[in-house]
């Protein structure tokens, strides 16, 4: 497995008397997508800004692939693409020019720049706009260009701060697909979001933060099991054929299944009592049933329930 990492070491950020981050310790390694969750003001964006040297840590270190992103910024960020908030681009530049500027900054060789820019613009479905001035673009179009800019130079590490912010539902769905694509290309993605269904759909793991402190970090199922207060998890499955009553009854009778809820003719939520081993067995059984299983993942509703439990007292 490639050795990509993002690490916060005793990261603290204070704004006067307000502590935005308090001794945050978090290490993400490997190639996966990690969701960064927490209520407004929890410290998510501050963390990502420290990693990109937009904000200075009061104390502690932010490391990307082992390099300090403040002291050794140029090297640390050379393998990291970032999208923080909703950046604006010099309005008189075209996407091609703006991305060429980023490509030049990131040291993409001149011979590869054109193809690299075309590739990322095609990825965000903005290739046909590459010659128009950015100043005339909508917020959603600009955000697509920003995502393209984060992908220039094919970075191994991606820091995304609410990447679907400002996009219409179709745009949000397309960006999710892009991120899923990127995940399959062996990258380490750290993504903050308020949209729990999005995190459930895209991410493998979640880190939860509140009042600048890390509350939990781990696989979504483990977090849901640990913080739901019960040894229970909710799994969403999607199949290729309509689920008959007989099939639903067979699923209901499987070991550990406490209830099922139909989300559509081919999608259901399964409430399961037991930890990861029970989930593994459930997956095996469902495959054996030959029902055309194509999706097996923690349900968004379970993560949402856990989130609400964890942050119910947060302001």
């Amino acid at each position: 497995m490639p050795d990509f990492s993002i690490e916060a070491v005793n990261l603290t950020k204070k704004y006067g008397n307000f502590t935005a981050l308090s001794d945050l310790n978090l290490k993400l390694e490997g190639t996966k997508c990690v969701g960064f969750l927490g209520p407004n003001g929890a410290g998510k964006t501050t963390t990502l800004k420290i990693f990109t040297d937009m904000v200075r840590a009061t104390s502690g270190r932010a490391l990307i692939n082992g390099l300090d992103s403040h002291k050794d910024k140029k090297t640390a960020l050379s393998s990291c693409g970032a999208l923080i908030e909703v950046p604006e681009i010099y309005p008189s530049l075209t996407p091609r020019e703006a991305l060429t500027m980023i490509a030049e900054i990131r040291g993409v060789p001149a011979s590869e720049r054109k193809s690299s820019i075309t590739k990322v613009l095609e990825k965000v479905k903005m290739a046909e706009w590459m010659g128009k001035k950015v100043g005339k673009f909508s917020k959603g179009m600009k955000q697509r260009i920003n995502i393209a800019a984060a992908l220039i130079g094919d970075p191994h590490v991606l820091l995304l701060d609410e990447p679907t912010s400002g996009l219409d539902p179709r745009g949000m769905s397309e960006v999710r697909e892009i991120i899923k694509d990127l995940k399959s290309e062996s990258r380490l993605i750290f993504m903050s979001s308020h949209i729990l269904s999005e995190v459930s759909e895209i991410c493998d793991e979640v880190a939860m933060i509140d009042h600048g402190r890390l509350l939990a970090y781990g696989k979504i199922n483990d977090i849901v099991s640990k913080f739901s207060g019960k040894d229970e998890s909710v799994i969403e499955i999607t199949v290729t054929k309509d689920l008959s009553t007989v099939t639903l009854n067979r699923i209901r009778a499987l070991d550990g299944v406490s209830s099922i809820r139909a989300l559509g003719p081919r999608r259901i939520d399964i409430k399961l009592v037991g930890g990861p081993s029970k989930q593994e067995k459930l997956l095996e059984k469902l495959v054996e049933m030959k029902i055309g299983l194509i999706v097996f993942r923690p349900a968004a509703s379970a993560l949402e329930e856990t989130y609400l439990n964890m942050f119910k007292e947060s302001v």
Partner: protein, 271 residues
């Protein structure tokens, strides 16, 4: 290298912006008005010699163009990265902040040089029309050199304020007020009321660009005004910076404002 990248794209942005054409238009309009007025009235005080022509035409106007250029191109150069959020597009990349600062500074300077160049061309064109091809005395070229130094200094100061404030309006307002009012008021008060040479005011140092256009370089002149009322209060001296003084004042302002601006930008946070 990264400084050059930022310069290239920042200049492209300036060159295509509305403000560039507005300032170019203002420069051309000023030149056209002067051409029209002097061409129509042919005042003897202006046309008596090439030096008096440059002194009034160039010496009386160029500082306005320098200040406008510095404000138009430098006023929001750094604060705009924060207020307009363009900083989020740039700063998260593997680039030093000093490269962004210097690149933008050079871009603003080059854009301003185009304005100065345009006014220089209009001035020289008129001078040739009235006095022939030999009408470009070395004092005019000396004055141009001091104007360029003044532009560099004014740009340094403007960038300092642009780094200091987070909003464009505040940085532009402070720079305009400072250059158009505060410096000249303080200079007048210090010289006339306190009787002290205002060596610490940048506009005093910069005035060497017009001093060199006098037929004899002016020295400090002690003047006694209205002594009948109160001899002590009305004794005043007209101070003129010497060329070395003027150059030193501008360089000191440039160095301190640039170092200050860079340090502020390095420490500034995108919050």
């Amino acid at each position: 290298m990264q400084t050059f990248i930022i310069f290239k794209y920042a200049f492209m942005d300036y060159f295509r912006s509305r403000r560039f054409f507005i300032l170019l238009l203002i420069t051309v309009i000023i030149g056209a008005i002067l051409t029209g007025v002097i061409g129509y009235f042919r005042p003897q005080s202006v046309l008596s010699s090439p030096l008096s022509f440059y002194s009034i035409w160039w010496g009386g106007t160029i500082s306005f163009i320098v200040i406008l250029s510095a404000v138009f191109f430098g006023g929001d150069a750094i604060s705009g990265e924060f207020q307009n959020k363009t900083g989020y597009f740039l700063i998260g990349n593997p680039i030093r902040r000093s490269s962004i600062y210097i690149g933008k500074w050079v871009a603003a300077l080059v854009a301003s040089l185009i304005m100065i160049g345009m006014f220089f061309a209009i001035t020289a064109g008129n001078a040739i029309f009235y006095f022939g091809y030999s009408a470009i005395p070395y004092q005019f070229l000396e004055s141009l050199a001091f104007v360029l130094l003044y532009l560099v200094t004014a740009m340094g100061i403007t960038f300092f304020f642009s780094s200091l404030f987070k909003t464009n309006s505040m940085s532009i307002l402070v720079t305009v007020i400072l250059f158009l009012f505060v410096f000249s008021i303080v200079q007048t008060l210090v010289a006339n009321l306190a009787g002290v040479e205002p060596w610490f005011i940048v506009t005093y140092g910069a005035s060497i660009y017009s001093n060199v256009l006098q037929s004899t370089y002016p020295a400090h002149i002690a003047a006694q005004n209205s002594a009948r009322i109160d001899p002590r209060a009305f004794n005043s001296t007209l101070y003129y910076a010497t060329i070395p003084e003027g150059i030193t004042i501008m360089i000191v302002y440039f160095v301190f404002s640039t170092i200050g601006g860079l340090l502020l930008f390095e420490r500034k946070e995108l919050t």
